[in-house]
């Protein structure tokens, strides 16, 4: 909402500068979003008259003018097409300073193509008064020559304030002035008269009939006769234009003006157009429609409240008047409506019809029922004054009893404790009473307040009163306090272990991604793990591209790889951690945390020669996963050949943690990378974090370190190609060889010498005892046992 500094001063004795006001408004809760200076003309610009014009000898577009500045005649060179003799124009005298972006420029005495010039005549745009730059701004003949132009331009400051939905009371000058008065102690001036003379003959008591008293508990109307519809006086137009309301005619302008003044939307009907001279406030009948002031036809339902005559709706109550019942140029007799409409009803109708107005905006947030009559009085007063109405009916009122006022008990200590601010009890009383709260009862420790009619939408309890105290007393007075410790039952930090995991992955050289959780269906189900039916989808997606919740991070990583490869970033090592979603509870229960890793390209692109072209392979990926798991001190994890349609069957491992499947890793199938110009294979891992984070940790107890030397033995054999490293190690471990400390593969090769379908494997074994140096005999005995068992148990040929 926009408010004018000048107009605000009509309601409060404001001793604040426009800049100070901006700050105060913000600090009491009316956030000032924009401050706009209007009608501001630089000092030194005066009203002047062109006496004569002749052509400049050295130019085909410049003129030389004799200009009277109120006391003397001076010479000005001017390029405007309309610098004709007789025109009253703005003249920037020597020394006038104009803003110019961040800088300024000053008008100086000058010579233009050899002719002296003593100032500058201005266009409206040069003065910042409008966008008009077609020629000099022509001023009315009524302006006194020599006077500063700013005497006539109504310099003002206009604030755009953001009004929070809990403060419908701020949707008027009066409401804002009231809070400023509470803050500054300045005097207020209420604009509405207490009564006006009424002398219209006739019985008007049947003019109004309210059927829907639930939606309209207070309706007032007043008939004013023999009004003259005309243009509004300039002060009224200026006041409306300043806040962005277009003047229409004096009657409509008055209703808008009073709405801005007191926050109460009003409406005026032409009495001629009220069939049967009767106003009925009722719910619309099904099938009824109305053409509103915006010229559009609206179909109404039984939920919409309308103002009707004896035949048809003439206004959508609280939203907009009808096109054929409002004030027109030849209107003479009018009915002035001031009423309170149910906020929920206005909101529902406004929303359903897609029709909003300044009136509906105020009614749906909650109008002040106490302001209905004063607003009517104020508008009637102005109509009499400005539209010369000469006969006015008494106020015709249909009213239900006012609801009981809301009463709130407040304990001073509790407010002080809540705010952490030492506000004296009588200071609280003073703040609240100046805001319109009435003290019902009071004692040493607290008081009981009655909530004013304009705050019933927001003030329900003690905490609300505390807010009032805080904002008027000043939030800038909150003291600095020491941050205290808390002994809380919650000790499990849910983020820390995620952070740890991230840092482990980063230290393995991976970059973290943060991708959209929403994607298109085709990307989401690519790879064949999830089907379209598995996907969780909002019913109101923003687009088809963002219509499904990601069931896995794999498509996110694929997208990032596509993005980077198309920008020639080829050597990529990424991971992402995030929530993934699935409807099919057999696959996983709806929402879980996933980790995905992707690597492709070269491992050391920063190096040279052969090393530069060494590509990432499966074991780089597995190594990253293994180091991560080792760093977490897992008690038990292993890898076995896995089957996941997203990975090549020949290169896919399943990660097992504590006997449970924790995810898969391998080389991505071509389907996933289709359309990406990848020159290297893509390796990915997908790990379920619920399994990882719930995994058992191995013992943290210290194992004594042997002081005795180790003895090494190697064993090599030819095995069938499908014998895995794990099978060999498990087999050797199962032999429980005495003092065997470590088994490690050190060579593996295939070739013609070995035979088709076979491979040679070589392991080194380390023996060591905790309490003595092993003898050759002891070790040899174990070694022989091993060789014998290998040949028999694994059916390998020892070499």
């Amino acid at each position: 909402m926009k408010i004018s500094y000048n107009v605000l001063k009509d309601y409060i004795d404001l001793s604040l500068t426009p800049e100070e006001l901006s700050d105060k408004l913000t600090m009491i809760g009316l956030e000032v979003e924009e401050v706009e200076k209007i009608g501001q003309v630089p000092a030194g610009v005066i009203v002047a008259k062109i006496l004569s014009r002749r052509k400049h000898e050295n130019s085909d577009h410049l003129s030389i003018c004799e200009v009277f500045n109120g006391s003397e005649t001076i010479q000005i060179v001017c390029g405007a097409p309309n610098c004709d003799a007789g025109n009253i124009i703005p003249l920037a005298t020597i020394g006038t300073v104009f803003p110019d972006g961040d800088k300024t420029f000053t008008i100086k005495k000058g010579k233009i193509r050899g002719v002296e010039s003593f100032g500058m005549m201005c266009s409206a745009r040069e003065l910042g008064l409008s966008e008009d730059h077609n020629g000099l701004m022509i001023l009315p003949g009524t302006y006194e020559l020599g006077k500063p132009l700013s005497d006539y331009t109504h310099p003002d400051t206009v604030y755009t304030v953001n009004i929070t939905p809990n403060h419908p009371d701020w949707l008027s000058y009066w409401g804002i002035a009231r809070d400023l008065a509470a803050l500054t102690g300045s005097a207020l001036h209420f604009p509405a008269p207490a009564h006006i003379a009424t002398e219209l003959a006739g019985d008007w008591s049947n003019l109004v009939e309210v059927e829907a008293t639930d939606l309209c508990p207070l309706y007032t109307a007043r008939v004013l006769r023999r009004v003259k519809v005309a243009e509004s006086p300039s002060w009224l137009k200026t006041a409306l234009l300043a806040v962005g309301i277009r003047p229409i005619n004096n009657i409509v302008d008055i209703t808008n003006y009073v709405m801005m003044e007191l926050g109460e939307p009003l409406h005026v009907f032409d009495l001629r157009f009220i069939k049967g001279e009767k106003i009925v406030v009722r719910r619309a009948n099904e099938g009824e429609s109305i053409v509103a002031l915006d010229g559009k036809k609206y179909e109404l339902t039984n939920n919409d409240l309308v103002i009707a005559d004896t035949e048809k709706p003439i206004a959508i109550a609280g939203v907009m008047g009808g096109e054929y019942s409002g004030v027109v140029n030849d209107t003479t007799d009018v009915v002035l409506e001031s009423a309170w409409f149910d906020p929920a009803s206005v909101r529902a109708t406004s929303r359903r019809l897609g029709l909003a107005s300044d009136a509906s905006y105020r009614f749906e947030r909650g109008a002040d029922r106490g302001m209905i009559v004063p607003a009517s009085l104020r508008a009637a007063q102005l109509i009499i004054e400005l539209a010369t109405a000469d006969a006015v009916s008494p106020l015709i009122t249909q009213e239900q009893p006012m609801p009981e006022p809301r009463i709130i008990n407040m304990k001073y200590d509790r407010v002080r404790n809540l705010l952490g601010m030492d506000v004296k009890s009588d200071c609280m009383d003073k703040i609240l009473t100046s805001l319109g709260f009435e003290i019902v009862r009071k004692c040493e420790s607290g008081a009981t307040f009655k909530v004013p009619t304009w705050r019933i939408y927001d003030i329900f309890g003690e905490a609300d009163l505390a807010e009032e105290v805080a904002r008027i007393h000043g939030l800038d007075k909150l003291p600095d306090v020491k941050i205290q410790a808390t002994q809380s039952d919650i000790s499990q930090d849910a983020i820390l272990h995620m952070t740890e995991l991230r840092e482990q992955l980063v230290s393995a050289g991976l970059y973290e991604l943060v991708s959209n959780s929403m994607m298109d269906e085709a990307s989401a189900i690519k790879g064949g793990i999830f089907t379209a039916e598995d996907l969780i989808r909002p019913y109101n997606p923003i687009s088809l591209d963002l219509s499904c919740m990601r069931p896995s991070l794999v498509p996110c990583l694929i997208n990032a790889i596509r993005y980077n490869v198309s920008r020639k970033n080829y050597d990529l090592a990424f991971f992402e951690i995030g929530h993934v979603f699935c409807k099919n509870t057999e696959k996983f229960p709806e929402e879980r945390d996933e980790l995905a890793i992707a690597i492709t390209g070269c491992a050391h692109p920063e190096r040279f020669s052969k090393e530069r072209t060494v590509k990432y392979d499966f074991f780089d990926l597995k190594g990253i996963v293994e180091s991560g798991l080792n760093a977490r001190r897992l008690k038990s994890f292993s890898f076995k050949p896995g089957s996941d349609p997203r990975f090549l069957p020949t290169c896919c491992a399943e990660l097992i943690i504590d006997g449970k499947s924790a995810g898969f890793l391998g080389e991505a199938v071509p389907e996933l990378t289709k359309g990406i110009r990848l020159n290297t294979p893509l390796f990915m891992a997908v790990i379920q974090l619920d399994v990882l984070f719930s995994a058992k940790e191995r013992s943290q107890y210290y194992v004594p370190i042997s002081q005795f030397p180790s003895v090494a033995r190697d064993v090599a054999f030819v095995a069938p190609n499908d014998l895995t490293n794990k099978q060999v190690i498990d087999f050797i471990t199962s032999l429980k060889l005495d003092n065997l400390e470590d088994i490690a593969i050190f060579d593996i090769f295939e070739g013609d010498a070995i035979g088709k379908g076979k491979k040679s494997m070589a392991y080194s074994l380390t023996f060591r005892a905790a309490d003595r140096t092993l003898t050759d005999d002891e070790v040899n005995a174990m070694y022989e046992k091993l060789r014998k068992n290998l040949a028999e148990g694994l059916k390998v040929e020892l070499r």
């Binding site: 807010e467 909150l478 808390t486 983020i495 980063v506 970059y511 973290e512 991604l513």
Partner: protein, 341 residues
């Protein structure tokens, strides 16, 4: 042979060998001297039978002389070898230390994660514990329990993503606060960072998802002054000691009193610039004292307990910290961007 003669010969062999070794410039030359003196058929070796023929009283002197000669030659041999090795090392081609090193790979956390971690860290030092919760939420946790009025525009399907079963994608991380209060006895002092969703058309400052961090502190005597001091501490830890904060009244259904908390502009220091729209202030977070209705919804007694809550957008904080002006770059995941943090 007389002793005299033997000693002279030994002396001659020794000095000749030492001189040759001093001049030797290759392994072969050194080896040759060694062979012709100490070798199996070398001069010294050849002389040694002569010692047996000397008179008894001369044997001791001859033995000493043999040892002297051998030691002198051996020392010269060693010196020559060391000298040669040093000169070879000196003339070997140097390692080109300007060639690229082999990277010891280190990646980077995403800047949003870095902000989350930094924020959580700062709040942990003040006694807050980080908690998390689901992104698919019920209307009750996301709106009702937080005192959002039934007609609040944020509930509109225009602004919030709903699932066909009536649940929604959380629009804030505050549901975690309700879940935490319902599951734990007071006091609670938590922050909940996480991903939220709003139905905004993506542009430079909006996306369908964003990250938020909310804080909650409920105990018997937690006040608005505690709120202010907590936020001030956070602001100065995150943006540096010169940051000032300003609280001004605002409105959120979740809190009463409610405030907006502005930070002095981190770009211009509060003098006014394009980023702060010349106001000197940046709107960073909404905060306030938890509304008694919310405490009741969470099973806490508002007569006994009170406290504050606050929330802010992590993208905005990250953008301000790194002077990023378009939010969309966060989820582009361009490696050249990620490497910068």
């Amino acid at each position: 042979m007389m002793l005299e003669e033997l000693l002279q010969q030994l002396q001659a062999i020794s000095s000749d060998a030492v001189a040759s070794l001093n001049a030797a410039d290759s392994d072969a030359a050194i080896e040759a001297v060694k062979n012709r003196t100490l070798g199996r058929s070398g001069a010294i070796t050849a002389l040694s039978p002569q010692m047996g023929q000397l008179p008894k009283e001369d044997k001791r002197a001859a033995g000493l002389a043999f040892n002297e000669a051998k030691t002198a030659i051996q020392k010269a041999l060693n010196d020559a070898k060391a000298k040669l090795a040093a000169s070879e090392a000196a003339s070997a081609p140097a390692v080109d230390v300007t060639l690229p090193g082999r990277a010891w790979p280190i990646g980077r956390k995403h800047p949003i994660s870095q902000t989350i971690d930094e924020c959580c860290d700062i709040f942990r030092r003040m006694g807050f514990i980080a908690v998390s919760g689901p992104e698919l939420e019920t209307v009750w946790y996301n709106f009702d329990a937080l005192n959002a009025p039934l007609n609040h525009p944020s509930r509109d399907p225009q602004d919030t993503f709903y699932l066909p079963d009536g649940r929604l994608l959380r629009t804030q991380t505050s549901p975690v606060q309700i879940r935490t209060m319902l599951g734990n006895k007071p006091p609670v002092r938590i922050v909940s960072p996480g991903r939220c969703y709003r139905r905004d058309t993506p542009d430079a400052t909006h996306g369908v998802h964003f990250h938020q961090l909310e804080g909650l502190y409920i105990d018997k005597n937690v006040s608005m002054a505690d709120l202010r001091s907590t936020i001030l501490k956070f602001a100065t830890e995150f943006f540096g000691p010169d940051v000032r904060i300003r609280m001004r009244p605002s409105f959120f259904p979740f809190t009463e009193p409610s405030v907006e908390c502005d930070f002095s502009c981190v770009c211009c220091g509060g003098k006014g610039c394009r980023v702060c729209k010349n106001s000197g202030w940046l709107e960073i977070m909404g905060a306030g004292m938890v509304n008694p209705a919310v405490l009741r919804n969470a099973g806490y007694d508002p007569e006994e307990l009170q406290g504050f809550a606050f929330g802010f957008g992590l993208e905005r904080l990250t953008m301000l910290k790194h002077r990023i002006n378009d939010l969309r770059i966060f989820s582009d995941n361009d490696l050249r961007f990620l490497k910068q943090f």
